[in-house]
Symmetry: none
Subunit: 259 residues, 2 copies
DNA sequence: CTGAATGTGATTGATTATGATTATAATAGA
DNA sequence: TCTATTATAATCATAATCAATCACATTCAG
């Protein structure tokens, strides 16, 4: 006869391994009543060791990996790739660049790995982790609090550290670009960090796929004037083209080749 | 007739070996009353040597996790796992803890994911990346320059930011522990960061597998006196035991079970 | 020797783990 | 959609186990 703690350990291990388990199967496996299994499962759920479902339980990661991050990364992935490739063409050997967190700038990481000398400042734990095995690239992380929603480091620590640095080029992502409301992002703290990034760079390059056009989200972090170069993937409205031209923003449109 | 300390040692050894023991069985085995066994078990539990259950006790079990490629290359992986499991038993819900970069502290990340409230400060891009999908854990990264050799963030930015923070417990790894030369690491800048970490924590817990004993590397970052608790995986030399005891360092030895 | 400290076993009311039961909720199939 | 089926939470009873307490014995220091 197992102790309840042992049984719970085994249930946890089982669910981790098989990613799922039914109440019925666990009853048979441990030869206890459904009540007992249900109690075990709710306690394990309380400890964040698995997630209950109707009829059983599933492993925690399978729900954690599912939602925003992966899904978001998958949208317009090809577009983001070609935008990043174009962006990389503006980077020169020996540059000090800043790469914003977010899925739009992520492909840029793969494009810069071949440089033999580069200093990269990034507030993304994902971006920096990907550069950990590229010793020729000097990586500087401005610290801060990790926002799980975007996997970016943000907050006063980030801003303060960033303000001590200066970079040649900053590659910034955005959630919305609008002629009257400028550059916006849903989070106030993140906006503050992006604003700091813009102020610390000689050249500001904004990356955005076509879905971001004429979108306005909560917090503004920059004006059209702040941008030096804007890279996107689809023919944009004439109003943007002329306004960008008038305000001295260079516009790069990279078209996706359909197969 | 055994003395209580002898009996407790044997109970501990028994539980480590068989992974479990019932109060009844221990009563028969040692020919003492249930009260006595229960008292022993409570004391052993207080010393983090086993976990009590209703009806008996079980050994500490580590969560099973699939090591990543990078981790597989590492030596003494099992030892580091059990050391981390022990270390995790000192973490309480709501704590603010600091986790040093390095392969020794890495398994600790898997042990803390189920906490429902925890603030974790870490200077490792790998550690923080692994916590990116655990929203209940507040992650703070003190920034800095990425050292590719250890995948740690180090340097003046790191030290300066760390000095603004204070944590309840710091879990620190080391490359060498020696009675006369204290705690050492091969890199001067990394030593400085570790030194800062120690100074910013109420309690300093050092994790080191047996290979680190009597090793001295280039840069010293702490004295024996700086340590509050030392967790390792093998019977250590008597000189260490007595010196630690004399200097008020609590010593945890976690033995690996050979199958 | 005395008196405090410690270790132990017995007792008892409290707590815990479990399975059965039942009303409610969620799901699947027509 | 509605209905039949299945899963669930909530409750209860019961048996095992536990914590708390006390009494007794042993050890040790003054």
């Amino acid at each position: 006869m197992l102790y309840s703690e042992e049984r719970k350990n085994k249930i946890h291990a089982y669910v981790e391994k098989h990613k799922r388990a039914s109440v019925q199967h666990l009853c048979d496996a441990f030869n206890v009543s459904e009540s007992t299994i249900r109690r075990d499962l709710s306690e394990l759920e309380q400890d964040h060791l698995l997630r209950r479902t109707h009829g059983g339980a599933i492993a925690f990661e399978s729900v954690n990996f599912e939602p925003t991050v992966t899904e978001k990364a998958d949208r317009f992935q090809k577009e983001k790739q070609i935008i990043a490739t174009r962006a990389a063409s503006y980077i020169q050997e020996g540059d000090t660049i800043l790469i914003d967190a977010g899925t739009t700038t992520l492909p840029l990481i793969y494009e810069i790995k071949h440089f033999s000398s580069l200093t990269v400042v990034t507030n993304s734990v994902v971006h920096s982790e990907l550069l950990k095995d590229s010793p020729q690239i000097e990586v500087v992380v401005p610290g801060g609090r990790l926002r799980h929603e975007t996997q970016a480091l943000v907050g006063p620590i980030t801003d303060q550290t960033l303000s001590l640095l200066h970079v040649d080029k900053a590659f910034i992502g955005t959630n919305g670009i609008d002629l009257s409301d400028g550059l916006t992002t849903p989070n106030l703290i993140e906006a503050s960090t992006k604003r700091t990034m813009i102020s610390q760079s000689s050249e500001v390059i904004v990356l955005a796929d076509h879905s971001k056009f004429e979108k306005v989200t909560f917090a503004k972090f920059g004006d059209i004037d702040d941008i030096d170069r804007f890279i996107t993937d689809e023919q944009v409205d004439q109003s943007f083209v002329s306004e960008f031209h008038q305000r001295g923003v260079k516009l790069d449109i990279v078209l996706l080749q359909e197969d």
